[in-house]
């Protein structure tokens, strides 16, 4: 039986038979459904607003994350992988977007949900955070956590300041590099000065002053420091010297967090603690989070 015979399958496939039509119809109807199922079942269906948890290692990011999920923070160790959890705003706090809704309204309940994204703070693993910052889809804010006790000494302060400097500079570049006239959606930053239960912890005001000073210093030594190898090694365009950008008002004078407002980033410093004898104190941070939702 050759393909051109009366009853070969090819002829049948092109002839107006009922079975052929039926097969074609089922294919047409079922295939998109299957494809849809295949693709969408695995894609995360959420477009929840998210908040990024950044900060140096040991600040208490993972501890805070576990605290938002349960009554008390779970024991934690140094993270090596990021983690996103679906969190709910604590009761009594009203998300800013649902201010005029009443509790019980489904939209109100929905507005209280958000994703909290924890990132590893170790120096070698900051690329997770950088990747999150590079494509901030629906990021409503950044919680930059620091250990308020460790910023009392030089090394801890410098580490925090360097990391914070890089984060703020990324945000600034994102703003100034935006093509649209309106500028991108603003991403505010909360500096959460954690571990206020320790008596060596600095109060938030002092944390702010110290960080601003240290960032000024970081900016200065970046300006004096060597250029990095990015341009020199990219063989083709040696003429194009990468234009360097400085954090805050062109990089002159002392740096203040206030200057970030011009580039669409408000920076607030609030104290609190995740652990501690008198129980956790995180209400200032969650109040801030509620404002961003």
């Amino acid at each position: 039986m050759a393909w051109y015979d009366e009853d070969s399958w090819l002829t049948a496939a092109f002839s107006p038979r009922l079975s052929t039509v039926a097969v074609a119809l089922t294919l047409v109807l079922v295939l998109p459904v299957l494809l849809h199922l295949f693709i969408y079942r695995r894609a995360t269906p959420t477009t929840l607003p998210s908040l990024l948890l950044l900060g140096p290692s040991g600040a208490g990011k993972t501890a805070l994350l576990t605290l938002t999920e349960r009554d008390a923070a779970a024991p934690t160790h140094t993270s090596t992988a990021p983690l996103a959890i679906e969190a709910l705003l604590p009761p009594r706090l009203t998300p800013a977007s649902a201010h005029y809704r009443s509790p019980g309204d489904p939209a109100y309940e929905r507005a209280r949900r958000f994703l909290l994204v924890d990132t590893p703070g170790h120096g070698k693993l900051r690329h997770f955070a950088t990747a999150q910052l590079a494509s901030p889809a629906n990021v409503r804010g950044i919680v930059f956590m620091i250990d308020a006790a460790s910023v009392a000494d030089e090394a801890g302060l410098n580490e925090a300041a360097e990391y914070l400097h890089d984060v703020l500079l990324t945000l600034q570049k994102r703003y100034t590099g935006a093509r649209t006239s309106k500028g991108p959606v603003e991403i505010p930053v909360l500096i959460a000065a954690n571990k206020s239960d320790l008596f060596t912890a600095l109060p938030p005001q002092l944390v702010q002053i110290n960080l601003e000073k240290a960032i000024t210093q970081v900016r200065k030594s970046k300006a004096q420091g060597l250029k990095d190898s990015g341009v020199a090694l990219a063989a083709d365009d040696d003429a194009l010297d990468e234009e360097r950008e400085w954090l805050g008002e062109g990089g002159d004078g002392p740096f203040e967090f206030r200057q970030m407002e011009e580039v669409g980033t408000s920076v607030k410093v609030r104290g609190g603690n995740v652990l501690g004898g008198d129980g956790p104190d995180v209400k200032d941070w969650f109040a801030w989070i509620a404002q961003q939702l």
């Binding site: 295949f38 693709i39 695995r42 894609a43 995360t44 959420t46 290692s57 040991g58 993972t62 994350l65 576990t66 999920e69 349960r70 779970a74 024991p75 934690t76 160790h77 140094t78 993270s79 090596t80 992988a81 990021p82 983690l83 996103a84 959890i85 679906e86 994703l115 924890d118 590893p120 170790h122 120096g123 070698k124 693993l125 900051r126 690329h127 030089e154 410098n158 580490e159 360097e162 210093q217 970081v218 030594s221 004096q224 420091g225 060597l226 250029k227 990095d228 190898s229 990015g230 020199a232 090694l233 990219a234 063989a235």
Partner: protein, 644 residues
């Protein structure tokens, strides 16, 4: 022996832990930092033994479940781990617990967007594992695991045939369905045993509680043949003499044989009371209800554990080796599906899937001048990362490997702490009021003096007062060469306001002494930075290399940088290692300066090789002939070059 057993996720949350001797979290933190992140200790290469990590008198052993993102860590005291057999005991425990934990909590662990895993039920499983392995170990002759016991009780039981110990088992059987109460094993006065006693006294506490739902889940998880009550009981009856003590009720429910209780009180009188109470409770509540339903699942905790472990092991194996062919049709459909998934994503990666593309990746890295050793290590770490993972939507294996390799490269090249030379100098100058000392080492002809001058130029631009010490007293012409550099630098920096001079003592003198003198001279003459040039030496020249130790001690530099050529090939690993080790214990290199980067195009693999060999970061790159041609490292651009 055991201090702690912890099960934590890669994201840092402790899911379950059992602590016998509490110590702070810092030791496990430094394990994670040093081994998992900085990879200072090479991952296990020899088969069988799991790696160990020692710190502050503690020994840690660990294993991971990559697909679930779990780390299992055991911590113990150094002394107890010494016996080789003991180490394998711990290995076995780790493996079994991993299998158990993965089997029981897999579903919960795979749930996204949460860090909560309800692991309250895990305690009894763990305790049972510990006991069982301990017992198995005891059977092995010539091994002293636990300190000799003091009570006569113990020795009696120790010498008793295993049958005598078994009557304790029914207790487990009863409780397995609702409230397992750990057996008090008085034969082992070790710490874990004590904890058992405490748990037992507490009766059916929250820790010991095993909810029936979980139990069912476990049962469902196992495609167990013995899932129906009748079958189970039938099997049990047919089992070893130990089970004969059990009396089966009319519904198949077991009732405590008096002898069992007797046995108990014999073994451990002070504990018999709470135990019987616990039993009563179980009987009245759980058993009654279940029997009425007439469909309870009777299973031994042990059997159950064995099944979970076996199942998990089988799973692991099937992942490791490709599946058997399922007949012609099955396999061809499988192949097409595989191809489809390869394009669309959602394929679970096995070693075989990865082997070929990884080989290609390795070749690619070799072409980029990465030393073979480093390339193999990177590919291994990518493999470890990916085996058992599912590829994402619309990603091929190749692109998955690429992404993973990129992040492995980023991780290896990114320094733990970024170096800010200027700040360090000012800190040392002000806080210790002495000059900052920086020294440069390396093999012959890599450009030590040139790069030293480049660093000097950079410092002069920032208005430092720099003294350059000519400690190369070996190669003729070295001092003259430096003199020329210093003259040039003087001219260049006259406008900038820097100040530079040379400290020389001619040839043939001891380099270490010259360096030490230079530091004293600088302090006396108001220089705030001393740069010390050293003689080039082959890294396999033992005599010259050994003089570096004395040099390090006498000159005591704040930083020692090694200059390496970007052109050097596979030798880079040995160079970096030998130089790093040459300063004696407690001192090593602080960074690499890679010279002549402008001559190699995108073949910048040397950077990776050197960092791989030592874990020490690259701080500067030399990119040209001018004094200004010194650059900091941009990890991202180097990664892009390597992956291009």
């Amino acid at each position: 022996m055991l201090d702690t057993f912890e099960i934590l996720t890669t994201s840092g949350v402790v899911l379950w832990s059992r602590t016998y001797v509490p110590v702070g979290a810092s030791i496990i933190n430094s394990l994670i930092r040093e081994v998992f992140i900085e990879e200072r200790i090479p991952p296990p290469s020899d088969a069988g033994q799991k790696p160990t990590y020692k710190k502050e008198g503690y020994t840690l052993k660990w294993t991971t479940a990559k697909d679930l993102g779990l780390i299992f860590v055991v911590r113990g005291c150094l002394a107890v781990y010494q016996s080789l057999v003991h180490l394998t005991w711990i290995d076995k425990l780790l493996d079994n617990v991993r299998a158990l934990f993965a089997g029981i909590f897999e579903e919960q662990l795979k749930k996204g967007h949460t860090s909560v895993v309800d692991t309250d039920t895990f305690g009894p499983y763990f305790d049972r594992q510990v006991q069982e392995l301990e017992r198995a170990n005891e059977a092995t002759p010539n091994v002293k695991l636990t300190p000799p016991s003091s009570t006569e009780n113990d020795s009696a039981e120790d010498n008793a045939p295993p049958v005598l110990q078994k009557p304790q088992r029914p207790l487990y059987d009863t409780s397995a369905d609702s409230t397992p109460v750990p057996t008090p094993d008085t034969s082992r006065p070790t710490t874990p045993a004590h904890t058992h006693l405490v748990t037992a006294k507490g009766g059916p506490g929250p820790k010991g509680k095993l909810s029936r739902r979980d139990k069912k889940k476990v049962a469902a998880l196992n495609s167990a043949p013995a899932s129906s009550g009748d079958e189970g009981s039938a099997r049990k009856k047919g089992k070893a003499s130990a089970k004969k003590n059990r009396v089966w009720g009319e519904f198949g429910a077991e009732e405590e044989d008096p002898s069992v209780v007797l046995d108990y009180s014999q073994g451990d009188i002070q504990n018999s009371n709470p135990r019987t109470e616990a039993l009563e409770e179980i009987k009245s509540e759980t058993w009654g209800r279940k029997t009425a339903k007439g469909e309870f699942v009777l299973k031994d905790l042990d059997e159950e554990m064995d099944e979970i472990i076996a199942e998990q092991n089988a799973k692991r194996e099937s992942l490791a080796y490709s599946k058997e062919s399922k007949g012609l049709v099955g396999s061809s459909i499988g192949a097409i599906g595989g191809l489809f998934r390869n394009v669309v994503g959602g394929k679970t990666l096995t070693k075989e899937d990865l082997a070929k593309p990884l080989k290609g990746m390795e070749e690619h890295l070799l072409r980029k001048n990465v030393a073979r050793e480093a390339a193999v290590r990177l590919c291994d770490s990518v493999e470890r990362d990916l085996v058992g993972l599912k590829t994402g939507n619309f990603t091929t294996i190749e692109s998955t490997i690429r992404t993973s390799m990129e992040s492995a490269l980023t991780k290896i090249l990114t320094p733990t702490n970024s170096l800010d030379l200027l700040r360090e100098i000012s800190t040392i100058n002000t806080s210790q009021s002495r000059p900052y000392v920086l020294s440069i080492v390396g093999v012959n002809g890599v450009g030590k003096s040139t790069n030293l001058s480049k660093i000097a130029f950079f410092l002069l631009q920032n208005h430092h007062r720099v003294l350059i010490a000519a400690a190369d007293t070996f190669r003729s012409g070295a001092v003259e060469q430096l003199r020329v550099h210093v003259r040039n630098l003087k001219e260049l920096s006259a406008r900038e306001g820097g100040q530079v001079d040379i400290f020389e003592k001619g040839y043939g003198k001891d380099a270490a002494n010259i360096a030490a003198d230079a530091v004293k001279y600088a302090a006396a003459n108001n220089f705030n930075v001393v740069l010390i040039d050293t003689a080039g030496r082959r890294h396999n020249d033992a005599r010259l290399m050994s003089s570096l130790e004395k040099f390090g001690k006498l000159a005591n530099p704040d930083k020692i940088f090694m200059v390496g050529e970007a052109l050097v090939g596979s030798d880079s690993v040995a160079q970096a290692r030998n130089f790093n080790a040459s300063f004696g214990p407690g001192r090593g290199l602080d960074g690499f300066v890679i010279s002549k980067c402008d001559t190699v195009g995108d073949m910048v693999g040397t950077l990776v090789s050197m960092v791989h060999a030592t874990g020490i970061p690259v701080v500067f790159l030399g990119v040209g002939q001018q004094y200004g041609d010194l650059r900091g490292l941009n990890v991202r651009s180097v990664c892009m070059l390597l992956m291009s």
